[in-house]
Symmetry: C2
DNA sequence: ATGAAAGCGCTAACAC
DNA sequence: GTGTTAGCGCTTTCAT
């Protein structure tokens, strides 16, 4: 079943069929109708492989995530897929398993398959830069959540706001001595959050600038970090963590050592993972506006910004839970899930 | 950069280059070497689109999951991707968003792109059957975790063993009055687990056969189900849940109503989600052997079983946690706070 | 074992 | 606007 069959059925040339079906060039209305009817009658489907070979385009988009097994990326992928489906584009997802070399292979695969739009959350702040920049020449590309190149569009949750939200909140709960526990890896978010903490904490607790710890995104590192805090900085009453898993570890260790969370020390996470609401105490965290990210990223993908790369900094949302609620007078009634699903994640 | 360039460089015909590079047919050793050297020198890469068009195959595999945002599937996808990477095949992941129609589109997309191997976890026990069976004529296909067709290979965790493990365990903890809380959806696992419960519980507590509740895989349904149990079957001391989220909801509601878990009533989940180990009480659950699933599925994909469809029933693993530990003499010391970030799920 | 040549199904020039 | 035709880069007969 090829175009030739449709052409015969419709009584026109294959070129007309192609033009009618691809919508690229104009054809007469009666031709269009004839072709569409013939195609429907025969159950004809355009062959994406043949058209990709001939035209060099495929009309599909590829998404490369650092690791599909990490908590945040399935949600991101889901949001992007939904958004794209509305425009009728299908998305192919690849996971780089946190390895820049595999990431390069993934991108090369996509390009070789004539994918003309690539969404990527680069594994490594530095090592992913080349592959991102190189891909620019073969496809339109947007970095999501993480980034490696400043010459390519980016849409990410503003790390300054993310950290700002938790610091302000903890300060409002009466915290005065801050510390930060992050990861030493090379994802841009890790780096940005640490930097944002250093900048912001000065205004609240200048000594907090020195109190930063870097390990990895694991429960075990949270335990270790909590021990170090108790040992060296026992007067700390607010710990900002780079993600929820670390926060959970920190909290567990504090409790084990007889500290009360949040009364003795308040703790926050990042990214609002599932277990943040179910662990006990539940963990105050910062939610990323996944849906908005998807919309903005998709917009940038197809937008014809011939000039400068654009950076979309999105507004995160603080989710207050038990791990920081020390101030009983101020605390609103504990609502775990916001009732309004309305989107307040307006971009700045 | 095409094959012609390589042919010229190597001093042979394009046909020989094709033969040498694809490894399909034999070429003389010196030709092989010449071609490989030329290809390397020029940095030549085979064009997957052109070869797919001409040969009808692509050498890649597609994975269609019901919903990438659901807890279990990222892990499954990750396992499959790792396994495939070892064989040098790249995998494209598609999510059907729990919609059989979208699932059909995904499969059609893959077939249109000449993917010759498809891994699928069908959305719907019945409605996905046709698409799975139809795909068989265009690609070798294996159902993973869920299934919709008995005419196609399946690899899944044995639901009877899964349910058997939790029932036996609870019985050993002294439980005598059982109930089951599952989902009314149409994924094969939901159906199988319910059926397995009905069959197995007879041997322990015949009246338990009648005590089954079906809702959906949500926290809210867990709350609701717990209320109903307290209302109608207040003497129940063991609740088997279809997944961890339901179990969590059930536990929360029981505690809210003043029951002690596990002393008054023991509760189990399924699938061993992240939060099972972090919620309090932590939830006894059954882990699916993802790695083994991946290995078996990949094996079936390429195995040339011309005859009957094979069914691989894999062995699940019970993870005992606080939600069922009532028997103090038998219980090992409850360790919630492991310091190592190493996997603490080997605590059977 | 190798080369020449015919397509895979489509789109993009190019004529009309 | 529409049809004719030449490829996109490769694999696969078919000769040799």
């Amino acid at each position: 079943m090829t175009m030739e069959d449709v052409a015969r059925e419709a009584g026109v040339s294959v070129a007309s069929v192609s033009r009618a079906l691809s919508g690229a060039r104009r054809v007469r209305d009666d031709v269009l109708e004839n072709v569409q009817r013939a195609a429907r009658k025969l159950g004809y489907q355009l062959d994406p492989i043949a058209r990709a070979l001939r035209s060099g385009r495929s009309g599909t988009v590829g998404l490369v995530v650092p690791d599909i097994a990490s908590p945040f990326f399935p949600a991101l992928a889901s949001g992007l897929e939904s958004g794209l489906r509305e425009t009728g584009t299908s998305m192919f997802l690849l996971s780089a398993q946190n390895d820049p070399d595999l990431e390069r292979e993934c991108v090369d695969q996509l390009i070789a398959r004539r994918v003309d739009k690539i969404l990527i959350s680069p594994v490594h702040h530095v090592r992913s830069r080349r592959i991102v920049d190189q891909a620019r020449s073969s496809a339109s590309i947007v970095q999501v959540d993480r980034y490696a190149s400043l010459r390519t569009h980016r849409v990410l949750t503003d790390p300054r706001q993310t950290i700002g939200l938790v610091l302000d909140h903890m300060a409002s709960q009466g915290c005065v001595r801050f510390a930060f526990v992050g990861a030493a890896d090379s994802a841009s978010v890790s780096i940005s959050r640490l930097a944002a903490y250093r900048t912001k904490v000065k205004q609240i607790d200048a000594s907090g600038v020195e109190r930063t710890l870097a390990g990895d995104y694991s429960l075990g590192w949270g335990h270790e970090a909590a021990k170090r805090i108790l040992q060296h900085w026992s007067d700390v009453d607010a710990v900002v963590c780079g993600n929820d898993l670390i926060a959970l570890g920190v909290i567990q260790e504090f409790i084990k050592q007889g500290r009360d969370v949040p009364k003795d020390v308040a703790v926050t996470g990042c990214d609002d993972s599932v277990f943040s609401s179910t662990s006990r105490p539940s963990i105050t965290s910062v939610e990323q506006p996944v849906t908005v990210m998807a919309v903005r990223a998709i917009g940038l993908l197809s937008g014809h910004f011939t000039n400068d790369p654009v950076t979309a900094l999105l507004k995160p949302k603080l989710i207050v839970r038990e791990s920081t609620r020390r101030n009983l007078e101020c605390a609103s009634t504990p609502k775990r899930l916001s009732t309004s699903s309305a989107n307040q994640n307006n971009e700045i």
